[in-house]
């Protein structure tokens, strides 16, 4: 058998982490026991795989090895009078690490784990961290870096969440039919939040952020596999794929933000677009619209246009009307106003934007500024850009707004040179 590189072992374990931990939590009834066991199996793989080669079924090998190590460990700890370990050992005395787990059971376990990680009794931040740690196999360091929090803070968040799962007995179970829509909503929210955090780049390491998007899409695909009949699962996956398809076109080589209208559509990832469109078509056939499906459909209309000028804005506005009826929030109303500007003109859109109860939103300021610019009300536009610049959270966005404001001032922009006016905070 061929030798296995250390990086390959790491990759295999990263991919299999969610499956292995999910199975072991069911077997041992404890998150920490499961995580330690998978870590033990990893060390064993590092010792054995380079010489012995990759086992025929790495998943099976990891789960069986981890289970054996966990039983060894629990026996050792039981003899040290660890009450908790004894209890676990008692209730699983009959478990013997013989045959491999059935594929169906492994999938069910992953679904159970998703619902446990995203249980509403856990804070949103804890749900996200747990999902990335347990299902995504990301390290605490990586999660901390992605969310720009100190590593000890993230470690503490994970420890607390796991302690609450154990003490409060948050169940390891797929919710009953009647609770499923609400509970699934929480899972989808976490997946989409991970994606957005990777996409919106409010700071942090760029590579880690791209990994967040990839991980969110992987979770979306997994959910789609596990719950193929849930239209909102199709919707969230389609939405992520369509947004992700524009990654290469979304920034210049210098890292400057490029608006959708100005993107080189030839750089969109056609495979992701095709996959997203196929999912949107399935949603339309289901005809059970939900917020994620409608947002995906809006993105699909954008992806359909061969050029920005050929965008079917009437269709987009209709979809926003539906979305606003389902989710009547100022944020949705703001996005709808952008479509209104295209269909009915900037004046109508400006009236809508001015009416919104959305304070402290740099996006509202930026959209207002753009509408004022199109109405040739330059001084007001420059003012609105300034308000947006002050509130913008990340540098790429701030730079973009600074360039826009400079256009209103009639000044040329030279990259890398700060323009007059107050420096960004």
């Amino acid at each position: 058998m061929p030798a296995v590189a250390a990086s390959e072992i790491e990759r295999v374990f990263r991919n299999e982490h969610g499956r292995a931990v999910a199975v072991l939590i069911r077997v041992f009834g404890d998150v920490d026991v499961a995580e330690d066991a998978v870590q033990d199996a990893f060390l064993e793989a590092v010792r054995r795989w380079p010489a012995a080669g990759l086992p025929p079924s790495p998943t099976g090998w990891i789960i069986t090895t981890a289970r054996n190590r966990a039983i060894d460990r629990l026996r050792r700890e039981a003899s040290r009078e660890d009450r908790h370990a004894q209890a676990v050992l008692l209730c699983d005395d009959g478990v013997e690490p013989d045959d491999e787990e059935e594929e169906g059971t492994v999938q069910d376990d992953q679904l159970r784990l998703m619902f446990t990680c995203c249980h509403p009794a856990l804070a949103k931040g804890a749900q996200v961290a747990l999902t990335l740690r347990l299902l995504g196999g990301l390290t605490t360091t990586e999660i901390a870096r992605a969310f720009v929090v100190p590593e000890p803070t993230m470690a503490q968040r994970l420890v607390r969440a796991k302690a609450k799962i154990r003490a409060a007995r948050i169940p390891y179970r797929v919710p009953e039919e009647e609770d499923l829509p609400a509970r699934l909503g929480a899972v989808l929210a976490v997946v989409y939040l991970v994606f957005n955090e990777g996409y919106a780049a409010s700071g942090g390491d760029r590579l880690v952020r791209e990994e967040l998007c990839a991980e969110a899409i992987r979770l979306g695909r997994l959910l789609h596999e596990l719950l193929p009949d849930e239209p909102e699962v199709l919707g969230v996956l389609a939405l992520m794929l369509l947004v992700e398809s524009r990654r290469a076109a979304r920034t210049t080589s210098g890292g400057d933000l490029v608006l959708l209208a100005d993107q080189d559509r030839g750089r969109w990832d056609r495979e992701l677009v095709a996959e997203g469109h196929a999912l949107v078509r399935r949603c339309l056939a289901r005809n059970e619209p939900g917020p994620y499906q409608l947002q995906a459909a809006i993105q699909a209309v954008h992806s359909d246009a061969p050029a920005a000028a050929l965008t079917e804005w009437t269709q987009i506005l209709e979809l926003y009307d539906q979305l606003l009826a389902l989710v009547p929030t100022p944020v949705v109303a703001l996005n709808r106003a952008v479509a209104v500007a295209e269909v009915q003109g900037p004046e109508a859109a400006l009236a809508l934007v001015d009416d919104l109860a959305l304070d402290h939103s740099h996006r509202r300021d930026a959209i207002r500024a753009d509408l004022l610019r199109r109405l040739d009300r330059r001084a007001e536009a420059a003012q609105a850009y300034q308000a947006a610049i002050v509130r913008a959270e990340n540098q790429a966005e701030r730079d973009f707004l600074l360039r826009r404001r400079a256009l209103c001032d009639g000044k040329a922009v030279i990259r890398g040179v700060r323009m007059r006016g107050p420096a960004p905070p």
């Binding site: 249980h119 007995r169 169940p171 919710p175």
Partner: protein
């Protein structure tokens, strides 16, 4: 079987008390919920408390136990009543807690007891 404490946050001194009819309706619903919990085998104990101003707090200080008037919590929120239930997991306890919140309109805190030793 794990046990959970369901604490009802008291409405507070500033709140308008419900009319006698409304209160009676609420009590009826609470009794019905307690019957459900009993039928499910989850009943341990439940009771409402007098106002926090009737509380007396005992505190060890310099080797002596001091008696003071009032509750130990400084904040405005006090426990107005408690219910102890047995449930197989948090979701079952949250289900009863949710019902209690709906009936009373008061915040309900659900908290697990430590295992018996």
């Amino acid at each position: 079987m794990p046990q959970y404490l369901l604490s009802l946050c008291s409405p507070g001194a500033d709140a308008t008390p419900p009319s006698p009819e409304a209160l009676e309706a609420i009590m009826g619903e609470i009794n019905a919920l307690n019957d459900d919990i009993k039928a499910a085998g989850g009943w341990v104990f439940a009771g409402g408390l007098h106002d926090a101003s009737t509380a007396t707090t005992l505190r060890l200080q310099d080797g002596e136990v001091l008696t003071t008037d009032g509750p130990f919590a400084e904040g405005k929120e006090h426990i107005g009543g408690i219910s102890v239930v047995e449930a197989s997991d948090l979701d079952v306890a949250l289900g009863w807690g949710r019902e209690l919140a709906r009936i009373t309109g008061l915040p309900i805190e659900v908290r697990p007891f430590q295992d018996e030793y």
